[in-house]
């Protein structure tokens, strides 16, 4: 009955092995080839591994895990397989925070952009709970998320259109596309602990999400506190998604796709999907980030764009599968 189910243990084990292998591959690939024997040395090539690829890989895994688990939680909470972490509007408000720092040129100081993004996420979470009120109603909550998303999205567009210099416009637009390029240990130190705390909140929602499978009345009659569940979901998604956007910009579709991919193997019980979604999200993002590094393009393909490109054919396949079932 817990989030770590015996039945899904093998799946989690396989995904973990896959993730470790993908992370090692991610350390090996890039424009410069470094032999594994030289990874721990003192020369420049070891520096590429330890100061660039290791933090980038860790960050990719953490963000993938965060987005995957946040997506699985959102789908369980809203009882909708097409929900994603963006529904809460937290990623949009976090992006607005980051864009504000770029707009005013604060991003010259490295740590200010992620801090602004986290402040944006915090304000977004606070507004969301204020707007939704204390009823725990799903419809009010979804509507509050849509309002927040739309407001933060339009303010971001306003900032782009009013940007003081063409350079700032380019900087904002490029940042919004999401990437893990040139991330350092500072980004890891900032994002990973916040993501870890957020994931603890998300895991704690598991059993309540299971109860919600039978509808709100049945869940409440079994002692599930719907308002507490909402708080845990908001805090968990806020921390994980906020820290992810702060470190890498907006990377869409991971939270939407990954729970779909693991459900056939993990079963449909919401709590059983949480951990495999985190592991598969990490695997997918680290894999995709490795792929964008080795694609033969003039400049590196932005990770956010790569994930969006994956999203369309994935949902196309899902659509055709559902159409076949309907016929």
């Amino acid at each position: 009955m817990s989030w770590l189910d015996r039945k899904t243990l093998w799946l989690n084990g396989l995904l973990l092995i896959g993730l470790i292998v993908t992370m090692l591959l991610s350390l090996a690939v890039g424009k410069v080839s470094v032999a594994p024997s030289a990874w721990l040395g003192d020369d420049l090539s070891a520096l590429i591994i330890m100061e660039l690829r290791v933090p980038r890989t860790i960050l990719g895994a953490a963000i993938g895990a965060a987005l995957g688990m946040a997506g699985a939680t959102m789908q369980g909470y809203l009882r909708n397989p097409l929900a994603d972490p963006g529904v809460f509007g937290v990623s949009a408000s976090s992006a607005l925070g980051a864009v504000t720092s770029l707009y005013f040129g604060f991003a010259m100081t490295a740590w200010l952009l992620p801090v602004f993004a986290l402040i944006g996420a915090g304000i977004g979470m606070a507004l969301l709970t204020l707007l939704a009120g204390r009823s725990g109603s799903l419809i009010l909550f979804t509507l509050a998320g849509v309002i927040l998303s739309s407001l933060a999205g339009s303010l971001t567009s306003l900032m782009i259109s009013l940007a003081p210099t063409p350079f700032a416009t380019t900087e904002i637009v490029t940042w919004l596309m999401g990437a893990l390029t040139d991330r350092s240990w500072d980004d890891v130190k900032l994002a990973v602990p916040i993501i870890a705390i957020g994931m603890l909140f998300l895991i704690a929602t598991g059993r309540s999400l299971d109860a919600l499978t039978l509808g709100e009345d049945a869940a409440r009659s079994m002692g599930v506190n719907i308002l507490h569940l909402q708080w845990f979901a908001v805090i968990g998604v806020g921390l994980t998604v906020g820290a992810s956007v702060a470190a890498a910009g907006i990377i869409g579709f991971v939270g939407l796709i990954v729970p779909h991919l693991v459900r056939p193997f993990a079963g449909h019980r919401p709590s059983a999907v949480l951990l495999p979604s985190a592991l598969a999200g990490a695997l997918l993002l680290v894999g995709a980030d490795s792929a964008v590094r080795i694609l033969p393009s003039v400049s590196e393909l932005r990770l956010g764009i790569a994930m969006s490109l994956l999203g369309a054919p994935f949902f196309m396949a899902l659509l055709f599968k559902m159409r076949r079932e309907l016929n």
Partner: protein
């Protein structure tokens, strides 16, 4: 050994749903709540299950207010079978029944007693053979049994069922009512909201009839299921007779204007 509500009033959107109602249910008995649509039956059941907090009044189990209990404790005492099956993910039957143990089990899952209770509930509702089936692929009758199994798995002292016969064929209606009667006979309290007057007369030890948010009549079957009260409650004329096997038949024959 009772579930009681005193001077309970509930107003929703400026409309009085329950108007200063009081009543008492006893353990070991099946009480059926009857009444026309909108009479307040489901709202009363929601209040009894602790899902709604009435504006005034007190709801108690053995003199303890249910609103002073922690959610899980209340869940262990009072089990609710809601009106509409509302299942969102295609999980297997065993998992659905297992969810009924949520008010009992700790954070890290089910223990041996939980597994035993689930097996017992599945056996009582003839779901053992369905254990691995996906819940959204079940027929209406199978689903009704599984959802009842989920409530029984929680071993509540009070079982509240809101129209458990809706969308069931007659054979499955008898099955579900027999299971509820057995549960009451084992010393638990069972409160059922029903629309079928004959089934109500057949299974109830006590009957409570509601009208416009108030209790119109309450008492034993023979005291309450009489043409006059039925006419007041539903605005219909009923014919009351006895079948060949001695079971009551309550048949609405025409609408009274």
């Amino acid at each position: 050994m009772s579930l009681a509500f005193e001077n309970t009033s509930l107003t929703l959107r400026n409309r009085k749903i329950l108007d200063d109602v009081s009543g008492l249910f006893k353990r070991g008995r099946v009480t059926v709540i009857l009444g026309a649509n909108g009479a307040g039956k489901s709202s009363l059941l929601s209040c009894l299950a602790g899902l709604r907090q009435p504006q005034t009044g007190r709801i108690t189990v053995d003199d303890r207010s249910i609103h002073e209990m922690e959610g899980k404790e209340r869940g262990r005492l009072i089990g609710l079978l809601p009106q509409r099956p509302d299942i969102h993910w295609n999980i297997d039957v065993k998992t659905v029944v297992g969810l009924g143990r949520l008010p009992h089990s700790g954070r890290w899952g089910m223990n041996a007693a939980d597994h035993e209770a689930v097996a017992k509930a599945m056996e009582a509702t003839d779901c053992t053979g369905l254990a691995e089936r996906k819940v959204l692929r079940l027929s209406g009758g199978e689903l009704g049994r599984v959802l009842l199994g989920r409530v029984l798995a929680g071993e509540p002292q009070w079982l509240l069922a809101d129209e458990p016969l809706a969308s069931l064929d007659p054979a499955h209606q008898f099955d579900v009512l027999d299971k509820l009667k057995n549960y009451a006979a084992a010393g638990n309290g069972v409160v059922i909201v029903l629309h079928d007057l004959t089934q109500a007369a057949r299974c109830a030890d006590d009957i409570m009839i509601m009208k416009d948010g108030a209790i119109l009549a309450a008492g034993s079957r023979d005291e309450v299921i009489v043409p006059d009260i039925m006419a007041q409650a539903y605005g219909v004329e009923v014919q009351i007779s006895t079948s060949d096997n001695g079971e009551p038949l309550v048949v609405p024959v025409r609408r009274l204007r």
